[in-house]
């Protein structure tokens, strides 16, 4: 039997390289999904705060649905539903046969769609936490809408929303494991493949725990640093 050092190492019999590559893929797909979620959440929060009533209702529906339905189901919807749509589109242009949606793309969209729903609430909460007096003061000194947004609303809302945004990132990072069902070789899938090939699911499970903890705690540190930096002008409480 191979020793753990060989198994988890980078030699010909080691799975270290494939695990590290999986971790990198997890980071990449999570970052992509987070960006999608941030864009969706930003738009939705804006519509919820300043949009007409139908837009507000639509955003309310979006956040309720995607925060209340399992992520796995959303991944199935995007992965299989997307393939369905692509295949239909292919037939329209005279193609035949099945066209599958790429796992990275489907996973990014699905996790991003869910993250956007949570991000909407985090950003809206950040906006609502701005003391009204600050916005009134900015108006009183004659700032126009754009300047108000750039100098007061955006930086202040970001400061209050950042803890919630950090939670969304942690959630995205952990949910990215579900993308393994599409066959994308991210960390969860790398752990499963190594476990199946070696019949050592315990050892590689431990390695998986370790790598995920490295990812979540390092990126958690990034968010904490950002929070401190945005709060640096405030009085210590």
């Amino acid at each position: 039997m191979n020793s753990p050092f060989v198994l988890l190492g980078f030699g010909p019999n080691g799975w270290g390289a494939s695990l590290v590559a999986g971790a990198a893929m997890t980071l990449a797909v999570s970052a992509a999904a987070y960006i999608v979620g941030l864009a969706l959440g930003g738009l939705a929060a804006w519509a919820r705060i300043a949009g007409p009533p139908p837009a507000r209702r639509a955003v309310g529906l979006y956040t309720t649905v995607f925060r209340g339905i399992p992520e796995l189901l959303v991944i199935y919807l995007v992965y299989f539903g997307g393939s369905e749509a692509l295949t239909a589109l292919g037939h329209l242009f005279g193609g035949s046969g099945f066209i599958g949606l790429d796992g990275f793309l489907a996973g990014t969209l699905a996790v991003g769609l869910v993250a956007g729903a949570y991000q909407t609430e985090a950003l809206r909460g950040g906006f609502l936490a701005i003391p009204r007096g600050e916005i009134e003061a900015a108006r009183a000194v004659g700032m126009n809408r754009l300047l108000l947004l750039r100098r007061v609303i955006a930086p202040r809302a970001l400061r209050f929303a950042l803890p919630g945004m950090g939670n969304v990132w942690q959630q995205v990072l952990k949910e990215s494991a579900l993308i393994s069902v599409t066959g994308l070789s991210e960390l969860m899938r790398a752990v499963n493949v190594a476990s199946d090939s070696t019949r050592l699911p315990f050892d590689f499970g431990i390695a998986g725990f370790f790598l995920y903890l490295v990812l979540t705690s390092l990126s958690g540190g990034v968010f904490r640093t950002a929070e401190r930096s945005l709060a640096r002008h405030e009085r210590a409480s």
Binding site: T64, V65, R67, G68, I69, P70, E71, L72, L73, V74, Y76, L77, Y79, F80, G81, E84, Q170, K174, E175, S176, A177, L178, S180, V181, M188, V191, N192, S195, R199, L200, P201, F202, D203, G205, G208, F209, Y212, L213, T216, S217
Partner: protein, 224 residues
């Protein structure tokens, strides 16, 4: 098959998975709550205990639930001594493994929520209880727990919804709850959108009922 017929048939099939989804949720939430209370008490009462609890919370909140489920279902079976032990009939069952993983995961989140609740109990209330001569247990039962639980309830409601959603991962170790059935129908019919719609309605209904129940409990327990 017509669209309406397909939706109806799908809905009926999916409803067959509701008892398992609800059972997994209730079982894991009940076990998780007991465990969370023990963890919160351990954290509050001893230094090594606090260290252990924070490590526990760090691991279970810092890694994907799917990895935890796979680890318990596949990982524990790697060792001959586990397979020979009296625990094996339970650890071989996907239902028991899913329940165990969900409960352990829930306990990590719930203990943190409860910790926040404990921290919000006013010192004066505890001192008044002590001054009236209450024992530690009576103080916990009459003063600390009711105040802490009321304070923690809104956050705990969110955790309950997260748990309903988390039970869907049990389908990846062969359990046919709502999401498992949905996957089976999608892979037979390739009608992902319709199936998603039906399963989505079921989950939203479950979560809506849960939200209302928690809100009713909040009103009953009075303002925080």
């Amino acid at each position: 098959m017509g669209e309406i017929d397909f939706l109806g048939a799908t809905m009926l099939q999916l409803l067959g998975g509701v008892p398992l989804t609800v059972g997994l949720t209730l079982g894991s939430v009940a076990a998780g709550a007991v465990l969370a209370l023990l963890l919160a008490l351990l954290r509050a009462n001893s230094r090594p205990g606090a260290l252990f609890v924070s490590a526990y919370v760090f691991v279970f909140r810092g890694t994907p639930l799917l990895l935890q489920i796979f680890f318990i279902y596949y990982g524990t079976g790697q060792f001959a001594f586990v397979r020979a032990s009296i625990l094996w009939p339970a650890l071989r069952e996907p239902w028991c493994c899913a329940l165990l993983a969900l409960a352990l995961n829930d306990a990590a989140y719930a203990s943190e929520i409860l910790r926040g609740g404990f921290a919000a109990v006013p010192r004066g209330a505890v001192e008044a209880g002590r001054a009236a001569g209450m024992s530690r247990l009576l103080l916990l039962r009459r003063i600390v727990l009711p105040l802490a639980i009321r304070q923690a309830l809104p956050a705990y409601g969110n955790e309950l919804i997260a748990m309903v959603k988390s039970t869907s991962l049990a389908s990846l170790i062969t359990l046919m709850e709502v999401t498992g059935i949905a996957y089976a129908i999608i892979s037979q019919t390739y009608r992902a959108i319709e199936v998603f719609l039906c399963a989505g309605v079921i989950y939203l209904a479950l979560n809506f009922a849960l939200t209302r129940a928690v809100a009713a409990l909040e009103t009953r327990l009075g303002p925080a």
